[in-house]
Structure formats: C-alpha cells, structure tokens
Amino acid sequence: MSTSIHLEDLRKEFRTLGSTHVAVDGLTLDIPDGSFTTFVGPSGCGKTTTLRMLAGLETPTSGRILFGDRDVTDLPPQRRNAAMVFQSIALYPHMTVRENIGYGLKIRGVSKGERDARIEEAAETLQITEQLEKMPAELSGGQQQRVALGGAFVQDPDVLLLDEPMSDLDAKLKSELRVEIQRLHQELETTVVYVTHDQTEAMTMSDQVVLLREGELAQADPPRRLFDRPRSEYVARFIGTPSTNVLPCRVDRDGSTAALVGHGFRVPLPADALPAAVGDEVRIGIRPQFLSPDAGEHRFELTVEVVEPIGIESVVHGRTDDGTRVDVVAAGLDSLRPGDRIVVGFDREHAFVFGAGGESVLFGEELVDGRGRSIR
C-alpha cells in the first residue's frame, strides 16, 4: 500500500552551542501516491534532513508531515512503515546477506518459511541469489547496494526512502542501478523519495524533481518542466550540464521598441513584456546546447579558453570581452585552440530572462510571440 506524502510548512533547526542553523525552512510540498520524487540540490541544501524527517529519524522543529491523511509528524521511525536505504549502505556486518534482507520481516514476526520465500524473490529480482549466504564484507559495492535495496524491497513499505544510495559507486554501476531502482519502483508500486546531488539521476528517474536551495523550495516540477521553465536563475543553472550561461544585459528603449542590450548583442522585447524600467539590469540565460557557432539570431564573440571533446560534440569554455564565462556545446569545434576567437549566437526562443533578484521573468517563447523587431 503506497501513500501520498504532504509536507506542511516544514521547518528544521539544528542548535549547536548557541548558534542556530536552519536546515529546512518552510517547506510545503505534495508528493503524489506512487510517484518517484527526487530531492536534489547542492550539499547542505536540506534534502537529506527532509528525508530523515520523513523517516522519523529527525523531529521537525515545526510544521507537519502527513502520509495520506495520517499525521506522522511525531511518530517514531518504527511505526511509519517506511523503508530507507542509506548513503553508507548500512548492512549489518555480522549477518549474512539473507539475514540482512530479512531482518525487517523478522522483527515483524513473519515466519521463517515466508521470510525465505520473500527474500529469495527479492534476491532474484536484484540478481543476488548467489550471494545470499555470504557476509556483506565479501560483496562488491554494487552488490552491497543491491542487498540494501533488497531489504527495502521485501518489506512492502508505504514509502521507500533512498538517501544518495549511489554516491559511492562508479559511473557504470550507477547507470545499471538507476534502471534497477526504476524497475523496483514499478514492481513495488510504492511512493519513492530519492535524495541525490546528481542532477542526472534526478532528471532521468523522477516523476517530480524537488530542487532545494538553503533549506527552501526552489522549484518542484516534472523534470522536463524544470529544464524548460526554470523558475529562477538558480534552477536554470543547477539543472543541465554544463550550466546555463548567464549574460548580463540592460533594458534599453529605442523609440517605441524596448530591447535587452548585452555585450555585443541586442534582443528586442515585445511591448510591455517586461515589468522593468529602462536602465534596469537583467540577465539572459541560454543553455550551452542552444549556442551555435556562426548561427542564431543574436551573436557575440568569445575567446576560447578550454576545449573538451566529448565524442561528436565538444564543450568549449570561453569568455566574452567583458569577462563573462560562456560554455558552448556543439559539433565540429574540436579543432579550436585556446586563444581562438569565435562568434556564437542563439535564437531568442531558447533564452530565459532573469530579473535582478534572480527570478525568471520571461521565457523564450514570450520573446518571440511579441511584436518586437530585430534591430541588428
């Protein structure tokens, strides 16, 4: 039986010797029943603290946590029917793999026969049948993580909590386990809450991505929407690799046409599109994938600093003449050398416009839809 999760104005403070650190600050969020929700953000953004509050390992300073319509805010971890997989994997070193997977069932008083049946079923799903009688120390990191998942799997939890379960694994194992976890989610029909600092994991696995910033909600949306419609510069820069380029601009008016004027380019604005006054500083965000050499409506010059070939495409790290760092991802750039000058351009339908406070004020389509006229 899975359950939906509701966080209401959740707050967690840690007090240490007179100083108070706010780890989670006023988090309100709905996690739909049966969904795969990922908390993502840089270290210290409060994502693990939130997960630990869901598990009952931390008590919220204020606010409420509901599983369905059951208030679990003050319920101890033992009575939440959640399963958790820890970053450190946390297998019991003195128990065999079989005992490790079955420990939760044993506590609930499930008979030995049924326990073994469920353990073996889980082991089969996770391809660790051969390892059942071994001790955890004899297993590889990936196998250990599968055992930890197995322990969660057999319990048929309402909520499956995963705290950076793959942070210590190498890239190949990660991509294998990503598939494994998604399969597990489908088979279990449980609500999964996943914490990671790796945006690739967040974007590839989730129904909903929750991006946190210093304990506050930055944005909670499906991955695609997070990518296409970031609510702020912070979201735009965190999601996507390499990071979104941010070019400083100024709002300018030329007769009846308003425009954003940056270093070497000018993006016309639809009439009354921007609630900003002439002379205001704003920023244009453009993903490196949407910058192309010698193409695009709006162009500017770059000095190449580093070129990283990644197969067909290359990542070019450069700087504009006013010192703004700009990354470009495109094919056919691998012959460039540091110091070379290139012209890159973008179409304004791909641009984001951020206000002075970092909030998104306009998206590309809105720039195109308007009546603006290119002056260039």
Binding site: A55, G56, L57, P76, P77, Q78, R79, R80, A82, A83, M84, F86, Q87, S88, A90, Y92, P93, H94, Y103, G104, I107, R108, G151, Q155, L161
Partner: protein
C-alpha cells in the same frame, strides 16, 4: 673540466632493505629473550624438586626430572586454593561489571547529547591518571563506614574503579566507529531501541567489549593494592596478596614460589591465547596499535 665531487657511495635499495630486515629480526630476538627467559626460569624451577634444582651447588636450568612436588607442598601447607578461588570470584565479577559499565557509558556518550557530556568524558579519562593507591585509602574509609570490608562485593567495586575509566574510554572510542546508520536502519525497519541494541549494536561492538573485558580482567587479576587494603582476613585474600604473605615463610622455597607464580600466570595466558584476535581488533580502533 673537473667532475663534480662524487657523493659517498650509497647502499643499494636491496641492501637497505636487507639491513632493515636484519635490524627488525635482531630487535625481535632481543625482546623475545627478555620475555621468554624469566618465563622459562619460572617453569623450570616450578617443575623440578628444589633438590634437583640446586644439586651440585649450582642452579640447574635444564630439567632432569618433572615433578609436582612443589605444587603438592603449596596445597598441603598453604591456602593457595582458597586464594585462587577468591581471585577468580572478584576478577570475574569485576570484569563483568567493568565491561557492562563501559558498554553502557560508551553507548551513551556516543549516541546521546546531554549537558556536561564533554566534562564527563574528560573526568573519566582524568580519573584514570590516579594510581590505585590514591583511590585505595578513600575507598577503605568508605567501605569501613559501610561495613563492607572483607567482602567480595567491596573488592569488586574497588577493582572496577581502577579498570572502568580505561574500559569506558575504550568503548567510547569503539562506539564512535560503529556507524549510527546501522541503528537507524534497524529503527526504520521497526526494531525498538532495546531490540536494536541486542541485534545490532552489541554484535557489532563485540571486538570492543572483549578488549575492554580483557583489560578489566588483567587489572583485577594482577591487583595487589586493592585486595591488600579491602581484605584483612586470611580466608578473603586473593592469590597475589596470599602468595606474597606465604612466600616469607621459611618452609616456602624457590620451588614453591615459582609454582605459585606459574599458577598465577595460567589464567591470563589462557585468555590471551583464546581472545588475542579480539584484543588486537579492539585496540587498533582505540588508536593503541
């Protein structure tokens, strides 16, 4: 052109390695001679009759005969058995008590936040700096006031007072290496605190508390000061105090002395033999490798 002055020829890497190895073996040899020779003397003198040991006007260190005569003399003319039993009783109870205190304190110090925790931990380590005799006099006064002198109970407490600071410190260090995620994982799966303690914490901490127990055992078994102060009746003496008293008798010679020494050495030897792997594991965590 003059060439640059040659440096003194250096030993090749291989030669250096060999030299290091030779030095290592030499050190090991010297140490083992210092350790084994007294033990050997003890054993040889204990299993020969005094007549054989001193025949021909010199000390014979290669046994020509093996006899239990010295042990028989001990049994017939002294209370060795009683002393030995006393030692076993107080050592066992003090070992259990000290280890139990250490596990409880170590777990508490690493798993709970409370006011004065740092101070408590420091006080524990500080109290370890006292020599037993400093504790002995106040303890004597306390036990006298409570009417507890000449009891196993009092000696158990006194011995635990000597060993507990170190065992607590050892377990405190050990529990710091036990990831709290193991316990949290058990809680989330539905295990209560006691169940978690039994199923997860204690099994994982086993090398730690076995080391603590071995230490507490050694302190209690080898104790002289506390037994001397707390016990004043002959039938309550431990083997260390008892032996020291009868060694002064004219009828007890070298043979009997070494025989009782051998008896005293047996329990620690057995403990070390069977538990050595745990001892090393526990101490390596405590940074005492």
């Amino acid at each position: 052109m003059a060439t640059a002055p040659r440096r003194a020829p250096r030993l090749s890497y291989r030669a250096q390695k060999r030299l290091k190895r030779a030095a290592l073996y030499l050190t090991a040899l010297v140490v083992s001679v210092f350790v084994t020779v007294p033990v050997y003397l003890m054993v040889v003198i204990a299993i020969q009759s005094p007549a054989a040991t001193f025949s021909g006007g010199r000390v014979n260190l290669v046994p020509a005969e093996v006899t239990l005569r010295n042990f028989r003399v001990l049994l017939e003319t002294t209370s060795t058995v009683r002393y030995f039993a006393n030692s076993l009783v107080v050592t066992a109870s003090s070992t259990v008590l000290s280890t139990a205190i250490a596990v409880a304190a170590g777990y508490g110090l690493t798993r709970f936040e409370f006011r004065g925790k740092r101070l408590a931990a420091r006080a524990v380590l500080f109290s370890y700096m006292f020599s037993p005799i400093v504790l002995a006099i106040p303890l004597y006064v306390i036990f006298f006031a409570l009417g507890l002198l000449n009891s196993y109970f009092a000696l158990t407490l006194a011995l635990t007072a000597i060993s507990a600071p170190f065992t607590i410190w050892l377990m405190w260090q050990y529990f710091q290496t036990v990831p709290i995620a193991l316990e949290e994982s058990a809680w989330v799966r539905g295990a209560g605190r006691w169940r978690t303690l039994r199923d997860v914490v204690l099994p994982v901490a086993r090398p730690g508390y076995i080391s603590a127990a071995i230490f507490a055992f050694a302190v209690a078994w080898n104790d002289f000061t506390m037994a001397r102060v707390v016990m004043s009746r002959d039938e309550m003496y431990t083997i260390t105090v008892g032996a020291s008293l009868f060694l002064d008798r004219v009828t007890i010679g070298w043979g009997e002395t070494m025989a009782v020494s051998l008896l005293i050495a047996v329990p620690p030897f057995l403990i070390a033999l069977f538990l050595q792997q745990y001892l090393l594991q526990g101490f390596s965590v405590g940074g005492l490798e």
